[in-house]
């Protein structure tokens, strides 16, 4: 897949990034650690994640709440939340282009996860590891497609969002997997393998984007 990453395009937040692959584009921002907006968001031992996702059109609905929930399940695995007790880390996401039918969120979730990861790096918040998300679909013929297009998704039997952590330039742990539709056990394992090699391949682009941003921030070092 061809990936376009824009590093730190936003001014008022601590870290931001846009992630575009195919017809899907998402912009994410991270601010924090900041003071909790209300007392009930102050957790005594760790930071509170305030996640806010907005759709490309229309008002946020239960669909976005579920996406926020999924992101909230994934992120504690990579953020060192316990380093920021009582603080809030605010994550705001704006979906710019869906790139898939309305009843699907796979491509958007991939773009959300990847853009939030880069935004987190830019914000300087302490992370445990690197990660990357990708999506796959299984067609009616049982064929696996990585980063399926909108029409491939629509005609698929099942589709998956897979997130792996990356350590020492290698695929490490399966951090998140969200599968919808019906599939066999073996098919899922094939999907995980395909996703892993896809991630290993594409993470180079993200790494490069991060590296060039770092050197940009230190122009005087050159």
């Amino acid at each position: 897949m061809s990936i376009i990453v824009e590093n730190d395009p936003l001014d008022q937040v601590d870290g931001s990034a846009s992630f575009e692959f195919g017809a899907t584009k998402v912009m994410s921002s991270v601010t924090g650690p900041i003071e909790a907006a209300r007392p009930r968001n102050e957790l005594p031992t760790k930071a509170y994640l305030d996640i806010n996702i907005r759709p490309s059109f229309g008002v946020p609905s239960t669909r976005e709440t579920l996406l926020e929930h999924k992101l909230g399940q994934l992120l504690p695995a990579v953020i060192n939340l316990d380093q920021y007790p009582r603080q809030t880390i605010q994550i705001a996401v704006q979906i710019l282009k869906n790139g898939e039918p309305n009843d699907y969120t796979a491509r958007q979730l991939v773009a959300i996860i990847n853009s939030v990861f880069i935004a987190l790096i830019n914000s300087g918040i302490s992370l445990k590891s690197s990660l990357m998300a990708t999506c796959c679909s299984i067609s009616t013929e049982g064929e696996i497609r990585t980063s399926p297009t909108s029409s491939e998704l629509a005609s698929s039997v099942s589709h998956f969002v897979v997130v792996y952590s990356i350590e020492d330039q290698q695929i490490d742990n399966l951090l998140f997997c969200d599968g919808l539709g019906t599939f066999k056990q073996q098919q899922l394992f094939d999907v995980l393998d395909r996703a892993a090699s896809e991630i290993l391949l594409n993470f180079q682009q993200i790494r490069q984007a991060i590296a060039s941003h770092v050197s940009q921030n230190y122009v005087w070092k050159a």
Partner: protein, 357 residues
Amino acid sequence: MSQTASLKLNRFPPDVLARIAPDMLLQKYLQIGLRPSLRKFDEFRPVVISCAGVGRYEASEPNGDINGVGSVLGSSIVKSGKTTAICLISGAIVEDDHELVNDYRTKLEKDIIDSDTHKDNKNASVYTEVEISRGASGPPNEEEIAVSHRLYETIYHSGLIERDALRIRLGYKGSEELEQEFVPHTNYSFVLYATIQVFSRAGPVYDLCYGALISALRQTRLPAVYIAEKRTEAGVRRVRVEEYDLVCEAEKNEPLKLNENKIAWSSTFGLVELDRDVPHDEDKMEIDTDGKILLAELEGEAEENIDTRITVSSNGSTLSGLSVYGAAGVTKEELRKAFDLANRRAQYVLNSREMEM
């Protein structure tokens, strides 16, 4: 002034320890091969599925007359351990609009292209609202919304309900066929709604709600619908609005057609690493397992503290609706173990006598 200070060993009862140091308590149990919920590692809570019998076309007693009242089309009560979920299904009628918006082509070409235009939305789902009783009123909280939408999403993509199964074939009163010339221009379909109330919440809510929803859908019967009359009203500023009065038969109905092989049961597992450093009594039985322990249906404060989870639905052999997350990472071997358990569990629950009702 001589006083000696002494450190006393503090002992906490399990429920207190579960609150202040859930991970410690969990490890203490696991060391001796037990769980805080006292179930075996791979043991699920007993599940009882029963008929609520409140639907319009359901009978409240076996072999009794159908209730014949109300607008509930299907219902179920599912009890898992101490937790109960009551699911009610109802419906409404909507004018099909996808014909209208997606039918891009001119009429001449319609037949050629029809086959590929409607592929994307052949599935339907149930608009679900989950309510977990917790001694507070107000709008649904984030967890309730997430569970509700997850149910909608999982049912939609699993292909359990086809759009065609909800299409209404209009008749005349008393079930006569409708004559061609009276057939309205538009097509109508049912929309399904579900409300699930969860009492005594403990353990995985999603599994229970999924079970309740599936069980209620299996009981759901759709009314036969006929056109009572065609009204042409003069509305505001004498705009003519054509309306059809659609009436559901009081007793005539047919069961909602489900794709039987897509009926599944959902199971949730927790994955926890055994901490060898936690002190434990030497003489107690030691479990030998390297790596992580898979626990079926986490329940109680100590167990629910585990944040690596696997949720999967299975019809006994085929999987659907998978959710895996957690910092510990999940290996294929662990997934395989979870899937096997989920398959066996689904076979057991779906074939049990209760499910037949």
